[in-house]
Every structure is written in C-alpha cells, then in structure tokens.
Amino acid sequence: MVPPPMNVSVKPPVAALPEAPLYESAKKNYPQSVHGRFRTVKWVLMAVFLGIYYLLPFVRWDRGPNSPSQAVLVDIPNTRFYFFFIELWPQEVYYFTGLLVIAAMTLFLMNAVAGRIWCGYACPQTVWTDLFYAVERWIEGDRRERMLKAKAGLDARRVGELALKHGIWLTIAWWTGGAWVLYFADAPTLVKELATFEAPMVAYACIGILTFTTYTLAGHLREQVCIYMCPWPRIQAALTDEWALNVTYRWDRGEPRTSIKKAADLRSLGEKAGDCVDCLQCVAVCPTGVDIRDGSQLGCIQCGLCIDACDTVMAKVGRPFGLIAYDNDVNIERRLAGEAPVYRFIRARTLIYTGIIALVGAVMLYALSTRTLIDINVLHDRNPLFVSLSDGSTRNAYTIRFLNKRSDLRTIELSAAGVPIPTVHVIGEEPASRTIVAVGPDQTREVRVLITVPPAARIDKSNAITFTARDVDSGDTATATDHFFGP
C-alpha cells in the first residue's frame, strides 16, 4: 500500500448517508445521450453481440447427409450439441465444465484488470437495457424531455408515443425469444413453422417467457437488476484489490468543486481550484443513476459513459481530459504526493487467473483434438460371473456398447486380449462374422458378447482383459478394460 500523503489540503468527498426511508420505490432513471470513445465502443459491441445472437442460428455448416447442417445447434431430442466442427455427446458434458471454469476465470481476470467491464459492456442485461434506452430516447426525446413528459399528463400524442415505445420494446423482446428457440431446432424450418403456427407448443411457450423476461428486465427493471438482483457486484467487491482499474473520479484534481468563473479567479490568484465544475453531466448520463464522484460503489457498472460526458465538458471549459477515467485510488494518492502514477497489470492474481485459463484451455484443446469418434463401453455380467462349458473351457459374458460418433455407418471389429486364446462371439451375428458389428451413423449399439477361453489355458480367478473396437475401414480404435473371471 502507498503511504498516506503528508500535506494534503483536500479530502475525498464523503457520500452522504441516505436519509431516505428503508423502503421506497425505485427512482426512475432518464439517462442522457452522450458521445465519446466509450459510447462508441458500447455501440460497436452491442451491434456485434446482438448480431451474433440473432443471426448465428442461420449460419450453416455442412456435416454430411446424416447430420444437421446448422452451425450451432442444441439437439435435445437426439441429445447432441453441435458447434461448427465440434459435435458433443451427453457423456462429453465435461467440456462445458471447462468452459464454465474459463468463463468464471475470464470474469475474474477482467475484474482484476478493469473492474466490472463485463457489466458495463458485455452483460446481456446491459446490452438489452442500452438498446431499450436508445429506443426510448429516439421516441420520447432526451433526458429533460422525458422527465418533463413523465411529469405532464397523458394526451393523445403522449399515449401514441408510449404505445409506439412499448410496441417496439415488445417486438425486440419477441425477437429475443424467437432467436433463442432457433438454437434448439433447424432455424429456417422452425421460422417457417412458427410463421404458419405449426411449431411445437414449447417453442411458443419459450418465446412467450423470453419475451416477458426481456421486456420486464430491459424495459422496466433495468438498473434494479444490477443493483438488487445480480450476485456479481457483491462477489466482485470481495475479489477486487487496490490495483484494479475502476471508473474513478480523480478527486485530487476535481476538488474543491467550483464554478468556471470562480475557478478562473482562484487560479489567477495562484490558489488551487478543482476541475470539477459540478455540472452533473456524469450523473445525467449514468444508466444506473449513481454519482461517480462518491467513489467506487455497488451501482457503478463501469461502462465509462460518465468519462465521455466529463471529457466533453472538460473540452468546453478548456481543462485536460480524464477528470473521470479508468484509474485507482493508489494513483490518486501518488499524484497528491507528487509521484507519477503506476499501473500494474502483472500481479499475482492476474497471473493466476491467466494461468488457470491457459491450463484449462490447453487441457480442453488437448482432449478435443485427441478425442476419438469411436468408443466402447463394457459391462461384465454380474450373475453368473463365469460359466464352465462341457469341454472345460471358461466363458464370461459382457454387455458391450459401441459408440459411433461419425456421421456414416461404421463396421467395427471387436477383439479381446489379456487372457490366453480368447474367442469372441457377438450374439446375434452369424458364425462367420462373430466379431463384426455394424453401428449406424451417429449412433450407439449395444450387444451381448461371449468370451471363451479354452480348457488348457491357465487363468486366474480374476484376469484383466482389454477389449479393442477397431473400425475396419478407417483403422480407428477404442479400448476398454474389464475382468475375466475363472473358476
């Protein structure tokens, strides 16, 4: 920690204790429009995220005649997940565990570097709320107009505006639900079915639910979701440290707040005047309605719009940019002490988070690149464990399931090793081909298999046995181990 500066004449502003009653209805926000760097970034990201979300189901990916040609598809009836060149089966759900670990660590890493930028730029709640605010601003006008209209009574024009706004909101919300269901079925077919009212009931129900949640969360609850419903602000507060960049009001520069004129007078006398002109633009543009000058707080989603607003004002009053900026308290203290600010991105926590992301990512990549598209599961008969035959040979029976993850039919040859001279017999196959099993495209097949060891063979009570499934055409193999029991 940086030692406290010695001769400091200004003090950080202290947020006034709320004197409001414990329970009150939420104050409605009327965020003002703003232009600037971070606003542009937010527009671009919004376009990218919404574009991906709404259009991805229509992207095609050729997987051959026996598999769906949708790039991203959650095929629940057939229990398959398709993602471009990847097809996952239910037993490979551990990949999602890896993805979730990476997602959590990425969130933590973002937080260690620049606070809640996930909240400010990428969270669906922020993206959709931002879009809904844009619609509201486009129809009802900017902050002041909206506040006046909210106070004034209803007239025909106002009713028309409100109807139009809620209509567009509901349309966006409906599209949001509509795009969601397209991830679970062939998108063009489902669109056609939806339009002709032939789609399954569950599709309409899902669209209805998501329309409701989107309209409610993005249109009405808005920042209440971030402040009261979301757990991340609480977790984030526990995970952060003094080096993380947060949207920070540099009170070392801003205090004392003075009017432009008075500041000029003070400066001409050689006295210190703060750069903050108390114009309240930072509060006006804030989508969650906080005053960033009160310091880091739960309501702040780190979107940087107040930075844009403040920079605009600073340009007008001829003071340098960055009175509000991504910064931290350490640097405020250092500047007050006359030292240069330092930014530390390489810290124990960022290294650990990056390390975990790299490790889990590497493990997943390795698993994905070495996974076979053929697999074999073996279950030994529990009763009887072994059978002695009339000539003295010993036989064990197994239930074996072959998995063919390719989109064409495979011919699989089964062999066993580990016991002397094992004879393999797949029940249901002709004597000439008792080791050969055909498994359909993208399917599994379960067969009963008998392994017989001749009487002369010396075997223990329990012997390790290895089953190998080999694709006759491609040579792909999969193995499984089990036991072979003897008398």
Binding site: R382, N383, P384, V387, L389, G392, R395, A397, I427, G428
Partner: protein, 289 residues
C-alpha cells in the same frame, strides 16, 4: 364504547375498539387482495362441479366430466401396451430364427424375455440363469433336450415331466432301489462313468467290469460312447458338467436312485409371444446352439 377516531401518530383510523387503553389501527386488506380471495372461492366452487369432490353415503359426487385418476392410470397403461403391442405383434409374427438377425427385435425380445425370466424361471434357474444342483445352468453349452432355438422353445412350452401331453418325457431307472445292480456293481459303473470325464476314481475298482455293466445297462440311452442322446434327454456323461454333482457319492446316488427333475409347461400360463421372447432370451444367454 366504540368510537371512530384518527390515530394522531400514524394518521390511520382506528377500529374504534379499546382494550385497557390499547387501540387497534384499522389497516384493511388491499382491495385487489380481497377480490383475488373472492375469485379463489368462486374457483373452488367450480372445482366441486367439475371434479369429484363430496363424499356421499355410499358414493361421491363424480363431477361433470367423470374425471378419475384411476382412469388416467388405466389409459396410461393402455397406451404403454399399445406401444409394446406393435413390437409384440412383430415378435409374434417373426420366425424364431429371424428374430436374432434383427438387432432391434433382438433387443426387444431379450428385454421382454429377461423380465419374464425373472418372474417365472428365476426361482429354479436363478436370476442369472446359472442354475444350481438339479436345475440346469442355461448359460453353458450342455443341453439335456437340445440347445437349438426350436428345442429351447419346445422345452419352455411343454416342460419336462410336467404332465403335459407334449412334455419332454423320460425316466432313468433307479438301478439300486429297483435291485437291478448290486452295490459294488453300482460303484464300478459310477467309477467307470467318472473316468470317462477324466476324473480320478478310487483305487482297486474294476473299471473293466464297470465298462461292461455300462454297456449292458446304460448305453441304451446314454450311448455306447456315453455321450448322451438329446432325443431321449439322456445327458452326456463324458463332459465336465454334472447336473446333480460329479463326485463319487453323487454319481452313485444318481445311479442307485435315479433323477427325474420336473419343469412345468408354460404354454398354458404364458402367452405365445412371451414364450418366444423367453426362448430367444435363454438362447442368447450364451449356451444356444
């Protein structure tokens, strides 16, 4: 005495009652809550009309549409049977030998057969069909009456010594009890028979005498080479499998007193499709020929 007044602190009217100086504020339920409550009452009356509700002396009010949860269960069971029905019909129509060639039908037959086996056959043959003394192991390759699908099917249908007209029928003579063979002759035959399977026999027993006795008394059914005869249900005596035990005493006991296990006929107890499924199941356990 009840008097209405406004409470000075809260500005809320009181109920007008006073108990030892304590007054009660009148904060009525919200109107929407009250109406929801009334609507629920009306709704519950609708329930009485639509669904079975009130017990009467010897019956109950049945409701408008005759709803019954028991009928729902019956409908579900019927739907399940209809679902199975299609496959059952396919199973019934398909020739026994063709069932094992169709993987889907084979899986269905084995599942049906496994369930029927557990219900009907497991008490004697064991849940895994491994058998026990006197009850054949159906997993091995030794068959008294034949291990082909048709033979297994016939055995399940009519049983052995079951009393059914078409039952598998034979009777081994009780050579000791009937006095056909003397005690030491039985020991000679038993020793000879065991020697055929490579088992060690007691010292000093005349195996040649045993061989002659076997040819005279046993070969009729078990064959000159003692390899048995499935037509007659006579077991192969040269293999390693002994239904009633292969030690000297057991074999002597078998020769002296004979064995005649009984298997019931299932044709009158189970439907033909189930018997077919059972035959496929037993045949695919591993011993099938």
């Amino acid at each position: 005495m009840a008097t209405n007044e406004i409470d000075a602190v809260t500005g809320t009217p009181t109920t007008g009652h006073e108990w030892d100086g304590i007054k009660e504020l009148n904060t009525p339920l919200p109107r929407w809550w009250l109406w929801t409550f009334y609507a629920c009452i009306v709704w519950s009356v609708a329930y009485w009309i639509v669904y079975p509700a009130w017990p009467l002396v010897s019956s109950y009010t049945t409701g408008l549409f005759g709803y019954s949860s028991r009928a729902n269960v019956a409908a579900d069971i019927a739907a399940l049977q209809a679902l199975r029905g299609a496959k059952s019909i396919a199973l019934g129509k398909t020739e026994l030998v063709d069932i094992e060639k169709d993987p889907a039908l084979l899986a269905f037959a084995r599942a049906q057969g496994r369930a029927a086996f557990g219900d009907n056959c497991a008490p004697c043959h064991g849940s895994g069909a491994a058998g026990s003394k006197g009850y054949p192991n159906l997993n091995d390759d030794d068959w008294l009456w034949g291990g082909t699908l048709d033979a297994v099917y016939q055995t399940i249908q009519y049983g052995a010594r079951s009393g059914h007209a078409k039952a598998r029928e034979n009777q081994m003579p009780a050579f000791g009890k009937d006095g056909t063979l003397k005690k030491d002759e039985i020991v000679q035959v038993a020793s000879y028979v065991r020697s055929l399977s490579g088992l060690t026999v007691p010292q000093g027993v005349n195996l040649e005498a045993g061989k002659k006795l076997f040819a005279d008394n046993c070969a009729v059914c078990h064959g000159d080479d003692a390899k048995g005869n499935q037509e007659l249900g006579a077991p192969n005596l040269t293999d390693r499998i002994w239904l009633y035990g292969g030690d000297q005493d057991s074999v002597i006991d078998t020769i002296a007193n004979a064995r005649s296990g009984v298997m019931p006929a299932w044709t009158d107890r189970l439907d033909p499709v189930t018997i077919k499924a059972l035959a496929v199941y037993v045949h695919t356990l591993g011993g099938g020929r």
